[in-house]
Symmetry: C2
Subunit: 187 residues, 2 copies
DNA sequence: CTTGGAATGTTATAGCTTCTAACTAACGCG
DNA sequence: CGCGTTAGTTAGAAGCTATAACATTCCAAG
């Protein structure tokens, strides 16, 4: 990798970092290539040398988010967290680090946007670890599915603030729901 | 209500209807007051006589969505659907009629947007019916909560298209998850 | 070590958006 | 019947995405 490519990667990384900051403070709709360019001391259109358009930047963010989640889950599993409850906690904590990163991949989709094949492949990676942890081969896939819907059910409502003022302990909820799933053999 | 107010309500309704159409086809980000105004044969700024700004229009849509959901659930309950599984099916079908209406209220929130008190009150209305249907007073609230996280977990992933190509039957999933919840006395 | 071409930046511009300001026309209530 | 509220208009500021055309800078191959 020559110095040119190196610099290019560096700039792309800084753009993505600032994009995450904007998303965290004002959401995806407020993400502005123009604003990022000016923050970085360059003129608006210069950024289009690094990302062809707004969608391509968002796609890169989505890819990174999936990658981060998959790496986190996989390394936790390999480090000994092989039970469903433990993995659920890991996923929840990953989501809480940056709620909008989770919501970017599992929140409201934009109609017409189609995730590139490689991102869904990364998503499958996560699912594979879950299914592995679910054991009981006959029902592992199905249990993996229920794991996911239960975790996402609690997490998504929590991150969206729908538990505000409701005296709910989301961590306990996740632990209970996945614990119950892990206890039972079938459904 | 004089003819003036009557006309005003009529226009507001048409604006909201067209807004829903735009949201359904291109999502909330693409919702354009300008475009709606032109569709209705008036110039852009004219619309601001009816909605002070974009946020106020979206708030009105959110309120209507909550209202519609609450009415649907309440009337179903009063019409004899008093079991949790039945109510879950009702909610899912309501969501499938217009996925973006569901996602507008339970999907990714915009940072900084605070729902007006009356919308959360309508949301509580739905919860009240669920808790009523959950029976078993001691654990009714908690079971109502789990009802909600389970239904939302499946529904939200289904609407976001995360089950695509996965050979999943979301209806069966909801029925199973809520059925299991209804069977057990506690957790 | 020079030189040519690719990569990176610039400004200008079109076309869209939200939203304010200022002005005009119409409608209906007293 | 007139006066005031309401509803519409156009103009314009400020922001956005994105393209086009042009200038510069840097790397690499001869």
């Amino acid at each position: 990798m020559g110095p040119r490519e190196r610099y290019r990667e560096q700039v792309r990384d800084e753009v993505k970092q600032r994009a995450w900051e904007q998303i965290a403070t004002a959401g995806v709709p407020a993400l502005s290539l123009n604003a990022i360019a000016k923050q970085m001391g360059m003129s608006g259109p210069a950024l289009y040398r690094y990302f062809a358009n707004r969608d391509e930047l968002i796609t890169a963010l989505i890819r990174d988010a999936y990658r981060s989640l998959a790496d986190t889950v996989r390394s936790s599993y390999e480090a000994g967290t092989t039970d469903l409850v433990g993995l659920a906690v890991v996923i929840r904590e990953w989501a809480l680090v940056d709620p909008h990163r989770y919501l970017l991949i599992y929140g409201t989709p934009v109609p017409g946007y189609h995730a590139p094949a490689d991102t869904t492949a990364i998503s499958d990676e996560v699912m594979a670890v879950i299914v592995e942890a679910a054991g009981a081969p006959a029902t592992a896939v199905h249990r993996g599915l229920l794991f996911w819907t239960r975790v996402h059910g609690v997490l998504s409502l929590e991150l969206a603030g729908h538990f505000a003022g409701m005296d709910v302990d989301p961590a306990a909820l996740v632990t209970q729901e996945i614990g119950a799933l892990a206890d039972r053999t079938g459904q």
